[in-house]
């Protein structure tokens, strides 16, 4: 059993990513090459480096949103390592439903669905009863200090910071074994950033494995269990 606990949740090996822009004469943009990274339970690896170094690209490769150009991204899913490079779309969707959540800066949701329903959705998808899902969603929205009057409304008209909190609520309510955080606190004020840091720490204590990008230095210092410098893997453009 103890051996099992040592297995990384995320294992990136020799990962290379480049884009070929066919609209621009087939220009090839190299992002990084030969990148290795392991993330274990309870770890929050914060990606360091200036913008344009490929931090978001790495997170998107791990989520299966971007294809890899070389190497592998292995995710521990149902106790087995799955290499996203060879996985079927069905498997990747199953991993996203049950194992791996992703919080971006932007909320991309269906226009007419209420905030409460949006936060309940990831729980309902995983077979949690409607009653329990609603209770957990309410508790999560309350802890993020989103005014209760907003809960029955679709978030389309909310402010940037409010939308971002809905996004965070959707991902943290599920208690995913793996969480990928791409600037989840970008439009939040200091008090709300503090709340998110507490959520991150609570999830880590429960054994979540995380990769994060945080623009804000205080969040970065508070959330990170270690830093990962991406610049050394930068490939020549």
């Amino acid at each position: 059993m103890t051996k099992k606990l040592e297995r990384p949740m995320i294992k990136v090996e020799g990962l290379t990513k480049r884009f070929t822009l066919h609209q621009h004469g087939g220009a090839r943009i190299g992002v990084f090459g030969g990148l290795d990274l392991e993330v274990k339970k309870g770890e929050c690896v914060v990606l360091a480096g200036a913008s344009g170094m490929g931090k978001s690209t790495l997170i998107r490769c791990v989520y299966g949103n971007y294809l890899t150009s070389g190497g592998s991204v292995k995710i521990l899913h149902d106790g087995a390592e799955v290499d996203l490079a060879g996985a079927t779309p069905q498997t990747i969707l199953d991993i996203r439903r049950r194992t791996m959540g992703y919080v971006s800066q932007f909320l991309r949701v269906i226009p007419r669905v209420s905030t409460l329903q949006l936060v309940m959705e990831p729980l309902l998808e995983n077979g949690v009863s409607a009653e329990e899902a609603e209770a957990r969603a309410r508790a999560m929205l309350a802890s993020l200090k989103l005014p209760e009057a907003h809960w029955s409304l679709p978030p389309a008209t909310f402010s940037g910071g409010e939308q971002q909190r809905v996004n965070i609520a959707r991902s943290f309510v599920r208690e995913y074994p793996i969480l990928l955080l791409d600037e989840p606190t970008a439009s939040l004020d200091a008090a709300n950033r503090g709340i998110v840091v507490d959520l991150i720490k609570a999830a880590l204590a429960k054994g979540s494995a995380m990769i994060g990008i945080f623009h804000d230095e205080s969040v970065r210092e508070a959330a990170a269990t270690r830093f990962f410098e991406i610049e050394s893997y930068k490939t020549a453009a």
């Binding site: 299966g64 294809l67 069905q90």
Partner: protein, 260 residues
């Protein structure tokens, strides 16, 4: 979960030629239960030809498509006799046309249009059918008091809702949709898409949606098939195909979308 279930539809090298002109060429894919597949590409790329072949409306030149039928078990839809194929279309499939006039009977009331599939499947209990019809009109957010109006007295968006109710009332397992929001205003389109999405998820339907609209594809589809000149040039998870397109044609399609 979905990874274990056998595919509902297995499409194997389907081609359709119109004389010398290619409609679609060597298209293969699996569709799993509960999965929504988007087929995208510009007009003339072969998406509607493919949809018409797979839904049994058009005989392909070559290839096979095995459907996991409730009645027959796995059957190749192109090998079925005319009568069995029609029964399969009636019992286990739905087809939502871009133009509601192609999918509705314009001379009978909206309510009768919705109830008709139940009657043609042998429903005899008038009260039950009436209840199912009212229930479906409510689900597609139509005013019940207008149940006896003819389709031509409804707006385009409402006609499309009637068509959707007509195609889902018999609880099909697979629904084909050809530009289901194509001719509608954007505000009507958004509401209809929300509705379709909810229905498809609630009923655990599988669907194949043909669209040239990348926004519709992102909202509705789990997976995309990109077609150009009759060929499938790229496939993958919807967000991956849209955010990290590999084929020059897909990159062109994605980069041509206006950002709001």
């Amino acid at each position: 979960m979905t990874t274990q279930a056998p595919p509902l539809l297995r499409v194997n090298r389907v081609s359709k030629w119109f004389g010398e002109i290619v409609g679609c060429r060597n298209v293969s894919f699996d569709l799993h239960p509960g999965e929504i597949l988007g087929v995208v590409g510009e007009s003339g790329s072969g998406k509607t030809t493919l949809l018409r072949c797979l839904s049994g409306k058009l005989e392909p030149t070559s290839g096979g498509a095995e459907f996991l039928s409730k009645r027959h078990g796995p059957v190749d839809i192109f090998q079925l006799g005319e009568q069995d194929r029609r029964r399969l279309q009636r019992e286990e499939w739905g087809f939502v046309h871009q133009n509601p006039r192609d999918g509705l009977r314009m001379r009978v009331s909206g309510g009768a249009n919705v109830a008709e599939p139940l009657m043609s499947l042998g429903g005899r209990h008038y009260g039950q059918m009436r209840r199912a019809t009212t229930d479906w009109l409510e689900r597609v957010e139509l005013d019940i008091s207008r149940v006896d109006h003819k389709p031509r007295n409804f707006s385009g968006g409402m006609q499309q809702r009637i068509q959707i109710a007509r195609n889902l009332i018999h609880q099909p397992r697979l629904v084909f949709m050809d530009e289901p929001t194509g001719g509608l205003d954007v505000s009507v389109q958004a509401r209809l898409l929300d509705l379709l999405r909810e229905l498809v998820r609630d009923l655990q339907l599988s669907a194949i949606i043909v669209t040239h609209d990348m926004g519709v594809a992102r909202l509705m589809a789990d997976r995309l098939l990109v077609m150009k000149n009759g060929d499938v040039v790229e496939t993958g998870l919807t967000d991956q195909v849209l955010d990290d397109a590999q084929h020059p044609y897909t990159q062109l399609l994605v980069s041509s979308v206006l950002q709001l």
